[in-house]
Amino acid sequence: MSKICIVFDRLRLEEKMLQEQASKMGHDTIVVDAKTSQISTESKKWDIDFGDVVLERCVSYFRGLHFTACLEFLDVPVINKYDVADKCGNKLVTSLLLKKHGVPTPKTYFAFSSEEAANLINKVGFPIVIKPVIGSWGRGILPLRDKDTTEAIIEMRDIADGSHDRIYYLQEVINRPPRDIRAITVGDQVIAAMYRKSQGDFKTNIALGGDPEICEITKEMEDICIKASGAVGGGILGIDLMEDEKRGLVIHEVNNTVEFKGLARVAKKNIPQEMINFALNHVRK
């Protein structure tokens, strides 16, 4: 029997499901609140109980990323690895890796100043989607359809506080049905997928109220999801796909800390069980 540790900063249904599943399978579980933990360069693995393997599940990307670095310093096996979290947390890096590894992905353009972002949009033309390089739940993702709105958005980004706001990530609009696909990969398997339908606008995030509906895992989907997972370093991932009317499936995002409560209600496979089994394979023998 092993001890599974779930690191969280907000205990959601997903973390409770993982804990319950691990207990059901006969394993000890501990949940650790990252907000109340202290680690130092003097810490040793045996000073703090992180069990035999950690599932890092912080809702805050930066908190989870830095906590993962500390866990790796302590030589505690952690899923996902720091390197994977780092790559998935930045949309620009993810897009580059997907393209480099031959994964079909939307054409994406980058600019590093507001002036050049405006020039780039002039060259590529409308409509185009602007996204923050770091961000989640669809926030800050906007379709740009005309010059006036574009100038306003760029100006707002230019005066915003975050240093990431000066990195411009612009993506072609994909001609697709009003939905996208979320697939969950665990290691080299796609364990579940669902359609996320939009609620009238172009965003489809479940966090924004998108309806989940089970989606058949096709060979095409399986192949490109596994390729995408490999491109970022593997682990437990949420992969977002769109159905381009000409190219077929394209992958636009890979998520590091996958939320699955919606999909778990309709999926054929036991999602938490697959995740726990994967984690157990990473326990040092």
Partner: protein, 55 residues
């Protein structure tokens, strides 16, 4: 347990765990369960959502 903002009664589900969020039914303020020992529950104001939150 009463809300520190508006003093309305907040019901804590029996199976709620430390780290979970509860909301005040009157004013909507969010609280995180900081400690729980049987019926004794300690709440603290929940963190506000950051720009890096979510998947």
């Amino acid at each position: 347990m009463n809300c520190s903002e508006c003093d309305a009664k907040i019901n804590i589900p029996d199976d709620a765990a430390v780290g979970e969020l509860v909301s005040c039914p009157e004013c909507g303020a969010d609280f995180e369960i900081a400690k729980k020992d049987g019926a004794n529950v300690e709440l603290k104001p929940a963190e506000s959502v950051g720009e890096d939150w979510g998947e």
